[in-house]
């Protein structure tokens, strides 16, 4: 494939035309995957012999936790594209993705708490993985606040890109720092990602469908939000021109 052809989609018009053509497919596919995965997971899998029915929150918890991290990675990539090639769609996509990522992090934290209550007997423990997710959530908040605080769009895109870059390094650093920090009083149980190899196929296949559903849902939402953002920006430009006119 000619890689240069990819950059043509940096043109907002072309981006919108293409994405709007594929948007319905993504929307339907994510809906189908989510419904199928969740129904399969909730009603057609056996209950875990030790954890009972509470294990089923797994189908919400694992995909959202994965997305929480992957959305930040996607923001990092689009920020880099903005810094290097200065394509506006890229910066807007990063902006559009941030609230979705924050919500995914929140879902992961909440479902984790709901799952943790019966399993560990506590809503919250200062476990490394939990703590690093909370810090990730703070990074999302700061990122969104910086976008909201700056009036000039290009300045905001520049500053948030650098923040995203620096934030990624520190998020990674925090991830390992909290690991270290909690060595002394470690919680026996750890979250599901570590147990992947223990999860039986019966649980794993519906989870995979759910993960696919979450990824497709994220793509759908990002496309919608980016297009909205492009339209809003175009409208502002038109209004400004009218006022001058």
């Amino acid at each position: 494939m000619n890689l240069n052809a990819l950059w043509e989609y940096a043109n907002p018009l072309k981006f919108m035309r293409t994405t709007e053509r594929v948007l319905p497919y993504f929307a339907v596919a994510s809906f189908v995957c989510l419904v199928a995965g969740l129904v399969w997971g909730f009603f057609f899998t056996p209950e875990d012999y030790r954890q009972g029915s509470t294990v089923k929150i797994f189908y919400l918890h694992v995909p959202s936790a994965m997305m929480a991290i992957n959305v930040w990675v996607m923001m990092l990539i689009t920020s880099l594209v903005w810094i290097v090639r200065r394509h506006h769609v890229s910066a807007l996509a990063a902006r559009a993705a941030a609230p979705i990522g924050a919500v995914m992090t929140l879902i992961a934290l909440l479902t984790g708490a709901i799952w943790g209550q019966p399993m560990w007997g506590t809503w919250w423990a200062w476990d490394p993985r939990l703590t690093s997710f909370l810090v990730l959530f703070l990074f999302y908040l700061g990122y969104m606040a910086l976008w909201a605080a700056i009036e000039n769009d290009d300045t905001a895109a520049d500053l948030t890109s650098v923040l995203c870059l620096v934030g990624s390094v520190f998020a990674l650093l925090s991830r390992y720092a909290v690991n270290f920090w909690n060595q002394g009083l470690h919680q026996g149980a750890s979250l599901s990602l570590d147990k992947k190899e223990n999860v039986a196929d019966v649980f794993w296949y519906p989870a995979l469908v759910c993960i696919a559903g979450f990824v497709l849902l994220f793509i759908t939402l990002v496309i919608i939000r980016t297009n909205t953002e492009i339209r809003a920006r175009r409208m502002r430009a038109l209004l400004a021109r009218e006022r001058l006119g």
Binding site: L146, L159, V162, L163, V166, L173, S174, A177, W181
Partner: protein, 218 residues
């Protein structure tokens, strides 16, 4: 460069507030803790390293928005930007000036505050050393935050939201080192990690701060 550093230091001393304020805030935090958790010596001694680190971090945070704000308002930041000095150099000097006026006094005052919080005797040296190693990182990270928010009208609150998550690793290793020291354990590992963070941050973050400042001055 020296002239710029001296100018910043002089301004900090003469303008009042900047220099002593951080220390006074640190003192207030330390005084308030026993009221909050009760004056038991054993309990205080156990949480003293963490409290001292938190106090130092908050005192540092308090003075961050002054790093660029005054120079931004009276236009001297634009003059500095057009001077032959590279932007990275200006940013590093600003961070150094901030550390000299905020970090160093905190390090020097920490034994006294350790006394107030009944820190165990063997904990003093690791405590001071951890602050000495860690506070430069706080200043440099804070300079990045200050450079990000310099053009904003009410940047102060946003600044804390942006900078506090970035402070997490430094705080963890700094407090860990102080805590281990107070309990008489080996401090080498957290000390090396803390030093690694400080050196890495000093080497790399001024590049980001300078880039951000250039955008803001555009």
């Amino acid at each position: 460069m020296i002239a710029l550093l001296l100018r910043d230091l002089r301004l900090a001393v003469r303008a009042g507030g900047g220099f002593g304020l951080g220390l006074a805030f640190f003192l207030i935090v330390v005084v308030l803790v026993p009221f909050g958790v009760g004056p038991e010596t054993g309990l205080l001694g156990r949480i003293a390293p963490g409290i001292l680190w938190l106090g130092a971090l908050l005192a540092c945070l308090l003075s961050l928005d002054r790093i660029f704000a005054l120079d931004w308002e009276d236009g001297s930041l634009d003059l500095l930007a057009t001077s032959p000095l590279p932007m990275e150099g200006i940013v590093s000097l600003k961070a150094l000036a901030h550390w000299l006026t905020t970090g160093v006094p905190l390090v020097l005052a920490s034994p006294l505050f350790g006394l107030l919080l009944s820190l165990p005797a063997q904990g003093y040296a690791p405590m001071i050393l951890s602050l000495l190693i860690g506070t430069p990182a706080l200043s440099v990270i804070g300079t990045f935050g200050a450079a990000l928010t310099v053009g904003l009208k009410r940047g102060g609150l946003l600044l804390s939201l942006l900078v506090l998550p970035l402070y997490v690793p430094t705080l963890i290793f700094g407090a860990e080192m102080a805590r281990r020291g107070a309990e008489g354990l080996a401090v080498q590992v957290p000390m090396l990690m803390l030093a690694g963070i400080s050196l890495g941050v000093i080497a790399l973050l001024p590049l980001a701060s300078a880039a951000v400042l250039r955008v803001n001055l555009r």
